[in-house]
Symmetry: C2
Subunit: 325 residues, 2 copies
């Protein structure tokens, strides 16, 4: 390693095995990347221990678990730069206790996630995927007119989560004439839409729920049987957050009994496994966790990560900091 | 027929056989509906001739052809109230010559058509229907990650047609961060977006074309091979206008050769027949001409038709008048 490289700030890379992020080379020109997976299994722990007291920043690639055990090995850690929007794989209470700052990919990803959320909602209401299937089965010429959809404009949309993604979803849905209200950990003074502290009440007063909040202990199965029943037979749920925000088993039962109107899902409780009962339903649109799967998203993520690492080592403000309170 | 009914204004109903529009009863309480199809075939012509000099208004249900022959039978005709957005089934030059006013369903339908256009565009770019197929073929767990999509924000969208539907599409796409330009018969002084008099130039400068203009002799096959080639290999076309606005045979060839990026189509040249080659393509989203197929649309159409017929007989201004110049 040349002298210049040694003087670059040290960044611990925490990634899944066999996964090399595409902008590693660009990062390596600016930071001294320490990736234990580059070394043989037998030497990793001792290597990590030897460098640990110098590691102030960790880059977490994909949702690779950051446990309290890992954190305890890193006494000098001040920053975790995440590459996902959800950070439920990181032990956030321990970060809060230790004063470790966590950033996520929210700023980079929020527009594309919002686009997919709106796309899924239009698809469920206007039966686009089902209509495409109808065509591909050559049914139009055989059976005539296709089923009616439902208008997006005028729908009462209840947002679960009003962070960066939620705000982008709302910006789009307002252009379609939707009526917005929201639930989040607490009422946001800067947001004028009606706030419901209780998700059940939000569901009672909504035609559509868009789920884009963080998965935490408090939000696990936040969309439970009662909430779905309150949403009702015409109600639609869109989930671009995490699968476990919805009680999936109950959702499947309610869908099979026709007790909710439809769902558009990018995320599932046991990915990549999806309840097979959903495959037979035309009021269900399934997306393979690809809300951020565009080249533009990956470029924006690269910019964000480089920006945050450089800003951190220059003592400048960071983007997309996760609120740990 | 009671005296009150006789005094109601006379409206000629022009509809397809076996098609009874759902709000006929409501109309019949306010107008004296004359529907030749209610009478035996043998008496229709003589009935029509007997009443013709009293018929000032015609309600055209669905795209039932209004030919110059029919118009010549109706010397007193002043108004045709259409129930569709496209009015290419009506002999417009003859209406212009005669001074017959034509209204369409634009005001009632434009929001739902725009919603579907945006839904189809998000679907093509983000591969929603194809992703849903990927799920239903149980491919996720078997083959792993799904293909990347493309971000909607930042796309240069060229609008073909900037009437009511086009304006609603633009309102929505601006919320997604798209860059708008347009082509229409002439530049509109109230619209600030860049105007292209030439569709080919519009295609050269666009990533996406959204087709929502009227089908006329001038616009037949306005999206021809040259325009599609100018749009290019990544270019996307959305058609919610009429099938014959696109040269469908050329479009199929270019899609099969990978020379355009993708299409989202609600309309086709020979409905309900669709080129079967399209069924094998993942960059194609097919919708069975259902851009206005919502109950909300039909309610709005009923309101519009009742409003226009009442306004006409009261000498008041009409909504959604077609520009015949």
């Amino acid at each position: 390693m040349d002298e210049e490289a040694v003087n670059r700030p040290l960044v611990l890379v925490h990634r899944p095995p066999n996964f090399h992020f595409p902008f590693r080379h660009r990062l390596a020109t600016q930071f001294n990347l320490f990736d234990p997976l580059d070394s043989p299994d037998s030497t990793r722990s001792s290597l990590l221990c030897r460098h640990a007291h110098n590691i102030r920043a960790l880059l977490c690639v994909d949702p690779t678990p950051v446990s309290s055990d890992l954190l305890s090995l890193l006494p000098a850690l001040e920053l975790i730069v995440g590459s996902t929007v959800g950070v439920d794989h990181i032990n956030l209470p321990e970060c809060r206790r230790r004063g470790v700052t966590v950033t996520n990919a929210g700023v980079a990803f929020s527009e594309d996630v919002a686009d997919l959320a709106v796309g899924l909602l239009i698809d469920v209401l206007r039966k686009i995927s089902a209509g495409d299937r109808f065509h591909r089965a050559s049914s139009w010429a055989k059976t005539g007119d296709y089923a009616l959809g439902s208008k997006l404009g005028g729908k009462r949309v209840g947002m679960l989560g009003m962070g960066k993604i939620g705000s982008e979803v709302v910006k789009r849905l307002q252009a379609f004439g939707c009526i917005i209200s929201y639930n989040s950990r607490r009422k946001k003074s800067a947001i004028a839409f009606p706030y419901y502290a209780d998700v059940y009440e939000l569901a009672v007063n909504s035609d559509v729920l868009v789920v884009c909040c963080a998965l935490t202990e408090e939000t696990h199965h936040i969309i439970n049987k009662d909430v779905m029943t309150a949403l009702g037979k015409e109600g639609v749920i869109i989930n671009v957050g995490r699968g476990a925000l919805i009680d999936e088993k109950e959702m499947v039962k309610l869908l099979l009994r026709g007790e909710i109107g439809g769902v558009g899902l990018d995320v599932f409780e046991d990915e990549p496994h999806v309840p097979k009962e959903l495959f037979q339903l035309d009021n269900v649109v399934l997306s393979p966790h690809c809300a951020v799967a565009t080249p533009e998203c990956f470029d924006a993520l690269e910019e964000l990560i480089v920006f945050n690492l450089k800003a951190f080592f220059a003592n400048k403000p960071l983007w997309s900091v996760v609120n740990l309170e």
